[in-house]
């Protein structure tokens, strides 16, 4: 996983999964949807965009930065460490014998 500014007012993050099995876990809306992201990052779920890209085994998430880049309350100027709350989310064990673990 990685995160980064997408311009000074948005943050974007990607989950690059190793294979289709991993992709199915994180692309499952029952595991990861706009509300889960909103709760982790304390933003409005209506502002969260999720893009599921099976050809790359990637799920991409974008939402407006709650503090603009450079403000006194901005602790991460390039938002490069803001993937961690999502990366620590425990993934469920998949039914079809897929090894679970952290996303």
């Amino acid at each position: 996983m990685r995160s980064k500014n997408a311009g000074p007012f948005w943050v974007t993050m990607e989950l690059f999964m190793r294979d289709a099995d991993g992709y199915r876990i994180v692309a499952d809306e029952a595991f990861l949807d706009e509300q889960v992201v909103a709760d982790l990052y304390r933003v409005d779920a209506d502002t969260v965009r999720i893009y599921r890209i099976p050809s790359l085994n990637v799920v991409k998430i974008s939402f407006p930065r709650p503090v603009s880049q450079g403000s006194l309350r901005d602790r991460d100027m390039h938002a490069g460490q803001h993937h961690v709350p999502l990366a620590l989310l425990r993934a469920p064990l998949a039914a079809a014998g897929v090894a679970g673990g952290e996303a």
Partner: protein
């Protein structure tokens, strides 16, 4: 670009920026791209590195909010139908990039402004008795700093602001930090913002004895904390924050901007200027804004 179609040209331009990330070895350098009438071909400059269909396609995600579309002054790049094919073990062929020309030529106008002047102070804590109660210590620090600034400098809370960051505990993520448990060592950064440098430094100096000696609420003695330097205060000068996020209608592809007579702004199609900084608001609690244009 020299008669080549806009779709492959804009798509290739996006990929070559930070192009090393589109290769097997991001540290090896950039990429080499040839654009033609039907698409573009891309390979790393380093003969030992490789571009793969996945590495090139994935680079469309980098630093963009939307992985499929990218707004440019003349229209929108659309890579939904793009295909990525390996020509050999290190060269990729990209075709199918489209460009939808917009009715109105626009330019993005982003801007930062000076929000004040900052002075930073830094100390460090290793004593486990304080570290096991570090959040209460930090709350007490904020309370006492505000009280003493009011008493000694006569400043109200809307005349300055500060951020107290506990590096080693939760400085990076703040309220979003999911881990708990006492840290082994904490670096304490006090960042003060005020309308002028002298005021910012005066506030930091009022906090200086606290950064050296503040106990936790339950301690019956004054600890001495570990300043890494003396004097502890560092003047950072002007502080800047991004505040302007506009799309401006432009008459020509060369950026001539129409102004209304007597008006104080260019014609704005999506005015989204941020309000003045709200110093008292908590991190991650400002209102969400309208979508930015990627790029």
């Amino acid at each position: 670009m020299k008669g080549m179609p806009a779709g492959p040209t804009w798509h290739a331009a996006k990929i070559v920026e930070c192009g090393g990330q589109a290769t097997s070895n991001p540290r090896a350098g950039g990429v080499y791209t040839i654009i033609d009438a039907d698409g573009f071909t891309i390979e790393p400059l380093d003969p030992a590195a490789a571009c793969t269909p996945i590495s090139v396609a994935a680079h469309m995600l980098y630093e963009t909010a939307d992985p499929f579309e990218m707004r440019e002054p003349d229209g929108t790049l659309d890579v939904r139908e793009a295909t990525y094919v390996a020509l050999d073990d290190r060269t990729v062929r990209v075709e199918g990039s489209r460009f939808h020309v917009a009715d109105q030529h626009t330019i993005k106008l982003e801007g930062a402004r000076i929000t004040g002047y900052e002075t930073m102070s830094f100390t460090a804590i290793r004593d486990p008795l304080i570290l096991e109660d570090i959040d209460a210590w930090a709350d007490l620090m904020c309370t006492v700093v505000r009280e003493r600034v009011a008493q000694t400098l006569g400043l109200t809370e809307d005349e300055y602001a500060f951020d107290l960051r506990l590096y080693g505990h939760n400085a990076v993520l703040g309220e979003l930090e999911p881990e708990t448990g006492p840290p082994r060592e904490v670096g304490v950064m006090l960042l003060v913002n005020a309308p002028d440098q002298a005021t910012a430094t005066a506030v930091a100096k009022v906090a200086n004895p606290l950064m050296l000696h503040l106990p936790t609420p339950s301690m019956a003695y004054l600890p001495s904390l570990a300043f890494p330097s003396s004097p502890a205060e560092v003047e950072r000068g002007a502080a800047y924050e991004f505040v302007l996020n506009h799309v401006v209608d432009s008459l020509t592809p060369h950026g001539d901007v129409p102004h209304r007579d007597g008006g104080d702004h260019p014609c704005l199609t999506q005015p989204t200027t941020r309000p003045p900084p709200r110093w008292r608001s908590s991190p991650w609690r400002c209102a969400p804004r309208t979508p930015d244009r990627s790029g």
